[in-house]
């Protein structure tokens, strides 16, 4: 079904200072929007580090959040894949799984969620607005992407006939420093091995609120609440970033080929906390 003619392309700020991105807004247009760059650099960075200029000129905010995994077995119809064919097994578990997830995995599926934008939206506590035959709904971003569990074929909290109409970022206390770091096998035009989205509100020399999320490591965009909790109420300092980032891989279950992601994730988070929060 072609939804491209629907009037869902707007980029607007709410009176309270939140940001509303229409589901059909193009990635390139959102990334280039001066007001978005000013208020939420983490969104612009995540978008500009995604895909390629040509793809960003075409692809939409709704489509990016909805995109499916890049697990190569998922796209290989000769391979067993519970996400594509429920009950058939998971070729990645015993196969080549260097790019797969270490967090949120299940026996049924270990595929990573590939979106960069979604990591930024997770850190910013975004909400998804949907519309369908049953009316309108608002879903917290953290609940929108479903953990694979025993049903990896079910990926989003979207009911039959429902569309995403917009993504909304609630107002954040200001000043808000934010940014996105993406680590990958080649410098550009590549999905993340690990990534980190960080948004910090520092006032009076103390971190009052923190949003931290990681990409490339989770079966869904991965919010790092343990890292956030370690930051809030403390003063930005060199040692703090490492201590907080130490918690980034809590609960990680590495596979045969992706054990390197555990350490890489901690270092990615530490580096991005330092870039956004300052200090040495």
């Amino acid at each position: 079904m072609d939804i491209s003619a629907l009037p869902l392309g707007e980029i607007t700020f709410t009176p309270e200072g939140g940001l509303r991105l229409g589901a059909l807004a193009r990635m390139a247009d959102v990334a280039a929007d001066p007001a978005v760059r000013e208020a939420y650099p983490v969104i612009a960075h995540a978008l500009e580090l995604s895909a390629s200029p040509q793809l960003r000129n075409m692809a939409t905010i709704g489509g990016n959040v909805m995109q499916r995994t890049r697990c190569s077995y998922f796209r290989d119809v000769s391979a067993a894949c519970n996400k594509r064919a429920p009950g058939s097994g998971c070729a990645a578990r015993e196969g080549y799984n260097r790019g797969h997830a270490i967090l949120g995995t299940s026996d049924a599926c270990v595929a990573t969620h590939p979106s960069d934008l979604a990591v930024a939206l997770a850190a910013l506590d975004a909400r998804i607005h949907t519309r369908g035959p049953g009316g309108e709904r608002t879903v917290p971003f953290a609940d929108f992407h479903l953990l694979p569990g025993t049903t990896p074929d079910r990926e989003q909290d979207l009911r039959p006939g429902e569309l995403i109409v917009a993504v909304e970022v609630p107002p954040h206390p200001r000043p808000l420093a934010s940014g996105y770091l993406k680590v990958r096998d080649r410098q550009s035009y590549e999905f993340a091995l690990t990534s980190a989205a960080v948004a910090l509100h520092v006032q009076g020399g103390v971190i009052r609120s923190a949003g931290v999320a990681a990409g490339g490591v989770g079966t869904v965009p991965w919010r790092l609440r343990a890292v956030e909790q370690h930051l809030v109420g403390r003063r930005p300092a060199g040692g703090l970033w490492a201590a907080a980032a130490e918690r980034a891989a809590e609960g990680a279950r590495p596979l045969a080929h992706n054990g390197f992601k555990v350490d890489l994730l901690r270092r990615t988070v530490e580096r991005q906390l330092r870039i956004v929060g300052g200090g040495s």
Binding site: D2, S4, A28, A51, S52, P53, Q54, L55, N57, M58, Q187, S188, Y189
Partner: protein
């Protein structure tokens, strides 16, 4: 590299009563006000997964065309297989290489991931339409020749269409910036250094 298959259900080009050479296509569209329907993607109703056929009016390199396309036909296949504009190349057919880059409504996009049925009223420019026929080359085409920015040439039409977009978007502040904003175009022959130089040269001229 994937092979170019006609859209499923298409009769082979030679057997098609609708087959038009590029020359007849241009003559026909040149005289018809508002374009003319060139019979395309004649879907065999007996084909197991026949899609629906839609009529789309668009402009390709400034010429109005009306085409009937299977709803699954990509812009890339429309250009190469039906409009006989093979300058746009098929590398991966999956969004990963940039060889198929064209401009739609002034923006650089991948034609392999663009469904032709979505292009009602669109303005498409391909490498064939970048410079006027018989006229001077576009400055970036000239720069590619001067800088010797190609070997086999397969990626070149996509590089040039993408480079023109990169220049229009003003992402040519430094060689580093050009590399990042040209990263959607892969070159198997590894001509990147000279491609960046060609974009730098043309950016200074246009």
């Amino acid at each position: 590299m994937s092979s170019s298959q006609p859209v499923s259900g298409d009769p082979p080009p030679d057997a098609s009563p609708w087959h038009v050479s590029r020359r007849t296509f241009l003559v026909v569209t040149g005289v018809a006000a508002g374009g003319v329907a060139v019979g395309l993607a004649v879907v065999d109703a007996a084909a197991p997964d026949a899609g629906t056929v839609a009529r789309v009016a668009l402009a390709v390199n400034g010429e109005p065309v009306v085409v009937e396309v299977d709803s699954r036909t990509s812009l890339l296949d429309l250009l190469r297989e039906h409009l006989e504009l093979p300058g746009t190349k098929k590398g991966c057919d999956a969004g990963a290489c940039g060889a198929c880059t064209v401009h739609v409504d002034g923006r650089r996009v991948l034609s392999c991931l663009t469904l032709a049925v979505r292009l009602e009223g669109a303005d498409v420019v391909t490498i064939e339409g970048l410079a006027p026929a018989g006229g001077a080359l576009h400055p970036l085409q000239a720069a590619f020749i001067e800088q010797d920015a190609l070997q086999c040439g397969y990626c070149t039409p996509g590089q040039i269409m993408s480079g023109v977009g990169c220049i229009q978007e003003r992402h040519t502040g430094s060689a580093e910036e050009i590399r990042e904003w040209m990263s959607g175009n892969l070159c198997r022959c590894g001509c990147y250094v000279k491609i960046v130089r060609a974009v730098e040269q043309a950016a200074g001229e246009v």
